[in-house]
Symmetry: none
Subunit: 309 residues, 2 copies
């Protein structure tokens, strides 16, 4: 439908599909069989090739016929091979080294000087893992709860989680919600003990074992506050919360680079904050405008810049 002929008009539909293309290919790999499976395998095995090579070469390499390639493209929702290749090119651009390198040797084997490659591969991977995991959950329901809450209390201890907690506080605050973040273990427990049924707790912990956060959530529940936990599925914290926002990440053992999970946390904050903004709806724009203006008046006008330099 979104064919070349319609190039001029808004191609937002295809834009949405873009990044997901690799995931969709992987799904198809499970279901498919025979010629199509061979083809998908071949494409995933070398995305670069599939992007730049003509259909004849792609077909030859996968030992399938040319129309099979066209048919796969159609099956994925594209108007044809051409369009599929453009989208592959785009996800390759966005996924960067992460996707480009998927068929390469073990990351840690490579020379130590490509710090940039490693860090961004790790970050891309972390984000990818998160968005895959989240296809399971019902984000709107969670964010509607947040949007309706009278008071939002955010817990998180330790570098990553407390960063996330503070960040979420800022973001929700800008949306006009009463949000407060607590990083201090004592304050977490104390603040939890004065909550009521109209309060909403959001608790961050990568491991799900942070003692003070678990305590605070338990206390909050005693007072009937709703609790959302952002943590690893199956962890103690995940088990006691009302709703789980799963934090999925794979920390690799490279001691020099112990931070992939931070991207996952940051993404979680973004998902929650943006989702909440959406749930609140257009009236949130007025509040954002005010915040922006309050910053602008102080530091003379760079309106294009993000909030809170």
């Amino acid at each position: 439908m979104t064919g070349p002929g319609e190039a001029t008009e808004n191609s937002s539909a295809s834009y949405d599909r873009r990044v997901d293309i690799v995931g969709r290919l992987q799904t198809r790999l499970q279901l498919g069989k025979g010629a199509e499976k061979r083809l998908v395998e071949s494409i995933l095995g070398d995305l670069n090739f599939a992007t730049y090579a003509p259909i004849a070469d792609i077909a030859a390499r996968a030992q399938v016929s040319e129309p099979t390639v066209t048919r796969l493209a159609r099956a994925l929702g594209f108007s044809g091979t051409r369009e599929m290749k453009f989208h592959l090119a785009q996800s390759l651009a966005i996924g960067g080294a992460y996707l480009r390198g998927s068929n390469q040797k073990n990351i840690d084997d490579r020379p130590l000087d490509d710090v940039i490659t490693k860090v961004s591969e790790g970050a891309h991977a972390a984000l990818e893992l998160m968005s895959v995991a989240l296809s399971e959950i019902d984000l709107p329901t969670i964010t509607q709860d947040i949007a309706k809450a009278n008071q939002v209390v955010v817990y998180g201890t330790g570098g990553g989680s407390s960063m996330a907690a503070v960040e979420l506080q800022n973001r929700l605050f800008r949306l006009g919600l009463q949000a407060t973040a607590y990083s201090d273990p004592q304050l977490q427990r104390m603040s939890a003990s004065v909550l009521d049924a109209k309060a909403l707790v959001i608790a961050f912990s990568i491991s799900g074992h942070a003692r003070s956060v678990i305590d605070a959530v338990s206390i909050a529940k005693q007072y009937n506050a709703r609790t959302i936990t952002v943590t690893s599925p199956g962890s103690p914290l995940a088990n006691i919360g009302d709703t789980l926002f799963p934090l999925t990440f794979k920390e690799d053992n490279n001691l020099y680079k112990p931070t992939a999970s931070r991207y996952a946390l940051l993404a979680a904050v973004d998902f929650l904050a943006m989702g909440t903004a959406m749930s609140i709806g257009p009236k949130v724009l007025e509040r954002l405008r005010r915040v922006r203006q309050s910053l602008a008046s102080q530091d003379i006008g760079y309106p294009e810049l993000p909030l809170g330099d």
Copy 2:
């Protein structure tokens, strides 16, 4: 000569050219004239169209002949129109709404439920843009400076930058460096005034206009401290620092999601921290082990978990 035939090998050469294509077109617009100029104008006027439309349509719209399009592609260093269009598609993907911009309806008009897609696309794109931009700089030199510093002072004001500053402090501290972060404007100026030539300043600012950070860097320079700025190229802060670590990002106009730059900042922190760890070398591992142990003794052993939940 990165033709389709070479698709299988690592196409890092084309990777470098990728983002720059719009800039190169703009350069050509100055020099060129006649048919080519018309064509370039037309392409820049609607990158989307140029990306998706067949050569005949592109030529027709610009009122030039088809071979002129092929010739332009060649002149830009591509093997042909096909390749040029792929690269356009990729820069469009990375530049995102920014490049797609003018001639499209607002992204915000799209349905509200694909929060996850939007956030992760933004994040991926931000990371990719950073790593492309950083292929220019000499990271080892910078991180060796950090590794050798007697004392590291980190400045950053406002949500994103202060988060980055604190995070970098933590990371460098774990490596055994004397690192201190200051988010408070007054403290920034004060701390800068007591530095000496052996101190190293790292200053974060997304815009590069944060008054207190600029002041602190100027003061630090008066006392001969080395200064590294992590900020937008060309900004006031970038101009006064000794070394620039360029922060490249395209904040899109989606008010609901004002945070792509945070991923760029986080990546910058990772690049610097990991690079520094590399520069220090293996002896850093012992320090990391100690930090890990100090955390483990308190909260009973989950050694696989990242430092600082």
